[in-house]
Amino acid sequence: MAIMYALKSSDNEIFEVEQKVIEQSETIKKMIEDGAATGEIPLQVSSKTLAKVLEWCKQRQHKTVENENDDNKGKRKKERDEDDDIKEWENKFSDELKADKDVLFDLLLASNYLDLPALLSFLCQLVADMVAGKMPEEIRRMFNIENDFTPEEEKAITAEHGWAFQP
């Protein structure tokens, strides 16, 4: 019988999750080890984001369990199929996130806070892919950043890297 934990989101929604699934989060794992996690575990993550995080964790969990059950026979082919499945799932996952940048950034911060290295690195790559090839102005719009350079500073930077923006 799997041990279940209750996670409470910042907007007070409760998520029942298996221990194995949430232990991927170093932060929560630590809390459980320290005995801090009796009853509900309150997290500073919105329910919408937390649902996404758990979706990721369950998919990862699924993968590791299946690998353990495999014996050597025909492993190669199976692994390849599995990899394809995971790729497909990840593509779908990232397409959803790309469509809704708010969710993406929420998730990025949540994965940082919950210390989920795999998710964090996946998301950072996703964001990097979105940033790559964009002009500074487009990046600012994407992240909602204000340009805090003075015109002089901006000029100096452009002079320094003028060639970077040449075709």
Binding site: S10, D11, Q24, E26, T27, I28, K30, M31, D34, G35, A36, A37, I41, P42, L43, Q44, S46, N72, K73, G74, F105, D106, L108, L109, A110, N112, Y113, D115, P117, A118, L120, S121, C124, Q125, V127, A128, D129, V131, A132, G133, K134, M135, P136, I139, R140, F143, N144, I145, E146, N147, D148, F149, E154, I157, T158, E160, H161, W163, A164, F165
Partner: protein, 533 residues
């Protein structure tokens, strides 16, 4: 992934994370000292147990905005020192198809090196996360990111500073200033690889020497449009100056002339396109540590040069004299000097060597694992053969039979050889290989190799490249490779009788188990791949 336990971001930098991208993050930054015992956090493993109350999410920081997430600094204190995790992590960024990578600068140490006590975080991302995002950008993206805002500029600056490896494509119109401005950003560069589309000259070399004090590996590749003007003297000065340099690769060395290289650190030297190499001067004291030497496409490299190489470097593990004019006697010298060290020998495009030289090398160099003799044993009548290519097979065969006396045979028996390349050896008509470790054989365009004189006894072969070979030969390769395999299996159902004189077939019921085994083995064994275009 076994990076599970590596925190990807510096918790000490994650104090200020706000969804409101316009709000300047708080001035406060994570403490360098452990929250519990007060000792400096770097390299510190706190042994004071974590009080439950300080556990990060058990006590969510009350905040006026629900959007603020704070990752507590105490998180890092109970963990082993971060730099141990990071030390083997590599960072890679790419520039066009070419990258910049830096050996894992742990964000912590990077922050510490800055005097500014207030590292700016912006774009709504915690500094550590921003670092993780930006380090995945290609250099061009990184330069664009530097223009976004001050916080991003700062992070990109740190990324450049931390970079240890840079791969850069230098566009045609770029001036020395281009390389200079990039190299100035990365003083800790250890490995530099340049793909030059503009000309290469001594000024650039001086710029590299000046900007990268710790350079260990330098590669310069030249595009067709670029001219490499570096002379032997200039290269000699560079090598003498760079005391850490262990590996030097340079393409397009057509203006090198002669050269004298002196370096106690250099272990790999790869120079290509040595068309006009007038004289080879090997300073015997110069490169004592050399392990790998490639002098490619130097038609002036002769047996005399081999003698000089052989008398100078006694510990070569790799020798690549592809495109040289050496002959079998040069191979003989190589065999005399390097029997105990040489594991890779590349003699592609050496028209003066013959199959007996190659046979001799394989017989005399017991450590050999890789041998490339591509385009060396060429058909003396290649022009005729070429014109024959469109004729039907029968005609060509008749033609070949008539000429086969001048074709060469190659017999190699070697217990270590793993890779053998005979691509374009159209002068070969017979090949016999007994190489138990061989796993890759390249016979592309060995178009005069005859199926009836081919013998492959190489049980570990994984791929044979045979495009441009005779149809029949491809069939023979396939069947021989598979019979190697079959022979292995046929051993199973037989058992020696008591007197040892005769083999009898074991009744079927006896070896059901082994049958299962075999099936299993058949599945697991990777079948040899015969690759044809």
């Amino acid at each position: 992934m076994n990076r599970q336990h590596q925190p990807h971001v510096s918790p000490s930098a994650t104090d200020y994370s706000s969804f409101d991208f316009n709000v300047r993050p708080s001035k406060r930054r994570g403490s360098y000292n452990c929250g519990r015992c007060g000792l400096p956090k770097k390299g510190h493993n706190c042994n004071i147990s974590t009080p439950t109350a300080s556990t990060p999410s058990a006590t969510p920081t009350p905040s006026d905005s629900s959007a603020v997430i704070s990752a507590p600094t105490s998180l890092s204190a109970s963990r082993p020192p971060r730099h141990q995790h990071y030390s083997h992590l590599r960072r890679a960024l790419s520039f066009d198809n070419i990258d910049l990578s830096c050996e894992s600068p742990e964000p912590d140490s990077v922050y510490e090196e800055t005097v500014d006590p207030d590292p700016i975080v912006s774009g709504g991302l915690p500094a550590g996360v921003l670092w993780e995002v930006l380090r995945r950008l290609p250099p061009a993206g990184l330069l664009a990111a530097a223009k976004v805002c001050k916080g991003w500029r700062e992070t990109t600056r740190r990324l450049w500073r931390a970079a240890e490896e840079l791969r850069l494509r230098v566009p045609m119109r770029a001036q020395v200033g281009f390389i200079g401005s990039i190299l100035q950003k990365c003083p800790s560069l250890v490995r530099l690889s340049l793909r030059m589309e503009s000309d290469v000259d001594a000024t650039m070399l001086a710029c590299i020497a000046f900007s990268c004090p710790n350079l260990e590996s330098m590669e310069i590749y030249t595009a067709d449009t670029a001219i490499n003007r570096i002379t032997g003297d200039e290269l000699g000065r560079f090598v003498a100056d760079k005391r850490c340099l262990t590996s030097l690769k340079m393409e397009g060395c057509s203006n090198l002339g002669g050269f004298v290289l002196c370096s106690s650190s250099l272990s790999t030297l790869w120079l290509s396109d040595l068309y006009s190499l007038s004289k080879m001067i090997f300073n015997s004291a110069g490169l004592r540590g050399l392990r790998m030497l490639s002098l490619v496409l130097g038609s002036e490299i002769t047996d005399a040069s081999v003698a000089a190489i052989a008398s100078t470097y006694s510990k070569l593990e790799l020798l690549d004299l592809s495109g040289s004019s050496i002959s079998d006697s040069g191979i003989g010298m190589i065999c005399n000097v390097f029997p105990n060290t040489l594991s890779r020998l590349l003699l592609a495009l050496c028209p003066n060597i013959t199959s007996s030289g190659i046979q001799f090398a394989t017989a005399q160099l017991p450590l050999l694992e890789l041998m490339d003799c591509g385009m060396s044993i060429c058909d003396p009548n290649s022009q005729d053969s070429n014109s024959d290519e469109n004729c039907d097979v029968e005609l060509q065969k008749a033609f070949n039979n008539k000429l086969h006396l001048i074709y060469q045979k190659l017999i190699i028996k070697h217990c270590r050889l793993k890779k053998l390349s005979l691509w374009g050896c159209s002068g070969l008509d017979a090949l016999c290989l007994n190489c138990p470790e061989l796993n890759d054989l390249n016979l592309n365009s060995c178009r005069n190799l005859r199926p009836d004189t081919l013998l492959l006894q190489c049980p570990k072969l994984e791929s044979v490249h045979a495009s441009g070979c005779q149809e029949l030969l491809i069939g023979t390769v396939q069947s021989q490779v598979n019979s190697n395999f079959a022979a292995l299996e046929n051993q199973y159902p037989f058992k020696r009788s008591a007197d040892g004189s005769k083999r009898i077939r074991v009744p079927h019921s006896f070896n059901q188990a082994s049958d299962e085994d075999m099936k299993r083995r058949r599945v697991e064994r990777r079948l040899c791949n015969v690759v044809v275009d």
